[in-house]
Subunit: 282 residues, 2 copies
């Protein structure tokens, strides 16, 4: 592997660049970001060797790390402008619409749909760090549609970055992510909104916020440019997750209103099961 | 300060014991827990010097660290059984009902209503650690009703433990905590419930859970014995917080259903304000 191009040099694209540079010191990384400030910062931070909108024809890999609503257009433009030995990988958080849009593309075999389960609540090149991807799960969809020889280039990079590969179809991916990622972000944003609204007539409301609040509201710091499109891209699954969540909240609201502590206790005890599941995941 | 008695030797009571032992090596700590296992563990972990249900008459401080629904009865029983030089402190998470119940108690001056903003999602003596309280906020309510001389004993302990003291009335305390603590726990428990329900027909739902999910669902591991009573003790404030939260969730649900990404983006951007507020708090 000699040359990579990265479009979108924020948290994820920037972290890929830093980690790849560390593992392959001889690698040339070209890159692009729609924000000139990001592009300048990525240069300063040593993420890219040169800034250019399009990959060189001899690039081994092109990584697209831009918000979900830009990816279909960007993928089509990128596929038009690559050589025969280049593989294009997107890192978007939803996969079904993307795979469907690319289904009949003449260069479908030069595309790999990927999603690393890695991130923080911060964004932009300055939020990036080489360890972000280390030992994280990397989901790959519709692997069978990607050229066998080109896939090897992706594996070389992913293995070097210690990514743990998982395979699933795009529908399953989007359904799962709605529950274990997208819903968490919505619940966190709406929690932040609720307390900010309360602050309007109660200025000191945050004074007593402890680590529990910080933990649940952390994701409300996330980038709107990244997260707003995810909600509409994965609409049906997110509506199902949100409906379940709102219904559970309404149910416990009734129990609180009725002062039914013993039923709340039983609920919480049942939910505590999640301890074993989360500890198992570690 | 020579002698402290602690009733309830879980996360909070146990951490108080460990921290007090560290700061005052000569201190005698007697203690009690309704669970014989907890009591045994507290002994083994060096939290208490002797186990006894009631404090000695010459105890300087009695700390009550039991679930909210036990505190009124325990406070009354404890106040009956102390000498004139003993101060009783409760660490409950709600304060309004408690202060009201003790309002006309003949020994009201020997009681101090306190709430340390410190905890983890774990419970029991084994979850306790001496640093839990270090530099945490300690809220004190109705300070003016506590005997001046006895208060000095509490200050001696609190200062030694690096607690940052704050003063507010019990109504304000409960209103604030509903939004910045209790709502977080409910949102987390219900998030856990929603994903557990989904797991019933989708066994691998947790496979792709990342750090964002872990962060938002962490509090769903919390103790039901502690949290169920808080929800009913602070009913009115929690209903207000929950109603605001459910209404915000329903509103964004409509925006998702309508595919209104730009309005979701505007919302998220507004909520991002919480970055500055939370970073300020640090």
């Amino acid at each position: 592997m000699k040359k990579i191009h990265i479009t979108g040099l924020g948290l994820l694209g920037g972290s890929f660049a830093l980690a790849a540079k560390r593992k392959f010191p001889e690698l040339t990384i070209t890159g692009w970001d729609i924000s000139t400030q990001n592009l300048h910062e990525a240069h300063t931070l040593g993420m890219i060797d040169s800034s250019q909108e399009l990959p060189d024809p001899d690039a081994d890999l092109v990584i697209l790390a831009t918000p979900g609503d830009t990816l279909v257009g960007l993928l089509e433009r990128t596929l038009e402008n690559i050589g025969n030995e280049t593989l294009v990988i997107d890192l978007g958080s939803t996969k079904e619409n993307l795979c469907k849009a690319l289904e009949n593309h003449p260069k479908r075999a030069q595309y790999l749909a990927a999603h690393p389960i890695a991130g923080t609540e911060y964004s932009g090149p300055r939020a990036a760090f080489a360890e972000l991807l280390d030992r994280k799960v990397m989901i790959l969809c519709e692997l069978e549609k990607t050229d066998l020889h080109l896939k090897e280039k992706a594996y070389e990079l992913f293995d070097a970055l210690n990514l743990k590969l998982r395979f699933m179809d795009p529908q399953e991916h989007d359904r799962h992510l709605a529950f274990v990622s997208h819903l968490s972000h919505i619940s966190s944003f709406m929690l932040g909104k609720t307390v900010l609204q309360k602050m309007e007539d109660d200025k000191n409301i945050f004074d007593m916020a402890g680590s529990g609040f910080a933990s649940t509201v952390r994701l409300a710091k996330s980038s709107p440019a990244m997260w707003a499109p995810i909600l509409t891209e994965n609409k049906d699954n997110i509506l199902a997750a949100l409906d379940g969540y709102i219904s559970n909240l309404s149910e416990i609201r009734e129990k609180v209103a009725n002062g039914d502590a013993s039923s709340i206790h039983a609920d919480f005890q049942e939910i505590n099961k999640i301890r074993d599941i989360l500890d198992l995941e570690k």
